[in-house]
Symmetry: C2
Subunit: 361 residues, 2 copies
DNA sequence: GTGAAAGCGCTAACAA
DNA sequence: TTGTTAGCGCTTTCAC
């Protein structure tokens, strides 16, 4: 009696549908099937059709792991971000994902939460999956990452600043453009005293924005005293505190610019708590143009820095390690938080704002 | 003269650091290295230490592809969402990602944008990467997905509703709880006329929320006429149109509940455009508790449905195909868009609101 | 243009 | 307990 070899009598025959099965079904060799699947042009059209038919009929799907193993190409791109709760990142991640898929890759996402250990784990995961490149979108240099990945020769891309290595590229964001537009917009409206709420000291992007603001202000002849610059931390609370400070100085600004939108949102709350109206009493401009800004009331005037643009540039940079990535532009989006300064503020008297600001409701 | 075989004189020796290298370096077999890496308990502590040292010293990182290929386990979990721009999803994705990593998996994200072709591509990608499970978080049943994945016997999890198959589980969201709390909250405040802006007709979650609202209203003895229900589409615009409609009826509601937060945000804009104040003239409650709601002014009272909870439940369900996933709870988060109805509205007269609503600014 | 065969790096029998 | 070895499913020389 022959041993019955039928794997399963049930409908779930799970007949190990691999490239060989297809080859047999199509009456060709596995090599041919492989060539067809990879669209190698030198395959005879007849055979090719037979193979596709077999693939279709059997519902064959190639195994990416095996492919990656033998070819040495994982078709995986890593992207590392810092803070999940930062509303700037979803768009960036989505853009990265989309772009990666466009070029036949998959995205591996890691978030560090500013935690070095989580960062290490991220890097480990990326290494294990054999990523072909890693975009470090944390807006800060993270040394531990560099050592491991860089030494493997894996292409990397950073924002704004990174050590000089030949497998590392940098996406430069043109902060000046958008910020200059914003300052000019404010100046055109008649503002002469502009406050600025900046981000964390050691965040390059925050410093770059502050510098851009300072030089833009200078260009339009606006003096920015120390007291008009508040060092926040890119959180909503930081924005609130910034407003409290700026409203407390001798000559409060008639307009405030924030280093990011989340700060600006906090600033909005603080301004409204102070009984002042936006933009009637004070104008406000954010930075990032996160989704939130459109929904908020009044919709926030802000400087757009497209997460999708950055993501696209990053994917491009990873796949073309030699070439310099495209610079990312920023631009002013005028919504409804900017307007002419109140008349009182325009008077030359030093105590320009009435001691008890008129409550708005 | 012997052929010089040294691969590279440069520092980038790239000496093919695989499990064999480690085995040799540690003076053991590859099997032992494999066992150590996989924490098989029966390995001698001495050898284990030697192996770890070698791993450390060489900087060895196992190749996931090879692992997956031979073991048949990809350690990949797919998650499919619909609309990127829906602010509810980032939290869900982040939660899924985190949870997956917690249990030693990686997340593969796909977004369909309501496009069937993109959906197909998603499924194809997941199949090719040999995902061990797929969470379909689109809040709708998508037939095409089912056919392919389900027939492969891949565990799947849906929200609210799905075909009965043994590899498919369903996460039930307890809409009633949060919605009942909201209605009771409104009733306690004194509201007797509550408007409701619902979502797309064929979205199960929207219908379930509407039903929950209707029965909750009935429980507290509030009658909800047809005219108080506006069929929106879960967009901001839908919310605006809903408000316009609800304010136009003979007896406008003093409170409005929305099927999701984005609608509620649109509603806020429309209400403010109408010259009415929240919550003085009208109360508003959203659904989802997306990040946005805290930042908005005034902060939105809403019903929390945790994307993280759903994600956690989904990951659990995928890894335990037999067992029923945990139900996800919802609950009211009271912020500042709900208050007592205006006195005028409390009068028994049918034309309760003055014909020209007092403008707020 | 097509096929046979040699692995990619690893795990899992099986043997020792 | 440890080592040897046969593949996992695929791509890719290398002959034909």
């Amino acid at each position: 009696m022959a041993i019955r070899k039928r794997a399963a009598t049930a409908k779930k025959s799970k007949a190990k549908l691999d490239i060989r099965t297809v080859a047999t079904a199509a009456g060709v060799s596995v090599a041919t099937v492989s060539r067809v699947m990879n669209k190698v042009p030198t395959v005879d059209a007849q055979l090719s059709k037979k193979v596709w038919e077999a693939v279709q009929r059997l519902g064959y799907v190639p195994n990416t792991q095996a492919r990656a193993l033998v070819s040495g190409r994982s078709r995986l791109l890593g992207v590392i971000i810092s803070d999940i709760t930062n509303p700037f990142f979803p768009e960036l991640i989505q853009g990265f994902e989309d772009k990666a898929i466009d070029v036949g890759y998959e995205a591996l996402i890691g978030s560090t939460n500013y935690d070095l250990q989580r960062m290490e784990q991220c890097v480990q995961r990326m290494l294990e999956r054999q990523v072909e490149g890693v975009a470090v979108m944390t807006f800060g240099i993270e040394q531990p990452i560099l050592e491991r990945l860089s030494s493997e020769g894996i292409p990397m891309v950073f924002i704004d600043v990174a050590p000089r290595k030949k497998n590392i590229s940098i996406i430069h964001v043109n902060y000046d453009q958008g910020i200059r537009e914003a300052v000019q917009h404010l100046a055109a409206l008649g503002h002469r005293r502009i406050g600025y709420i900046t981000g964390p000291h050691l965040l390059h992007s925050a410093n770059a924005r502050l510098d851009a603001f300072l030089s833009a202000a200078e260009r339009v002849g606006i003096r920015v005293p120390e007291s008009c610059i508040f060092h926040g931390d890119h959180t909503s609370e930081g924005g609130s505190r910034g407003v409290e400070h700026l409203l407390s100085i001798k000559q409060p600004p008639t307009a405030i610019m924030c280093s990011n939108d989340v700060s600006a949102l906090g600033a909005m709350h603080a301004i409204s708590r102070a009984g002042l109206s936006i933009p009637d009493d004070i104008s406000l401009i954010g930075f990032d143009d996160i989704k939130l800004t459109e929904y908020v009331l009044p919709p926030l005037t802000t400087i757009r820095m497209s997460g999708r643009d950055i993501a696209a540039s990053a994917v491009y940079a990873l796949l073309n390690p030699g070439t310099a990535p495209k610079q990312v532009e920023t631009s002013l989006i005028v919504r409804q938080t900017t307007g002419v300064p109140p008349k009182a503020a325009l008077a030359k008297t030093s105590s320009s704002r009435s001691s008890s600001p008129k409550r708005h409701r």
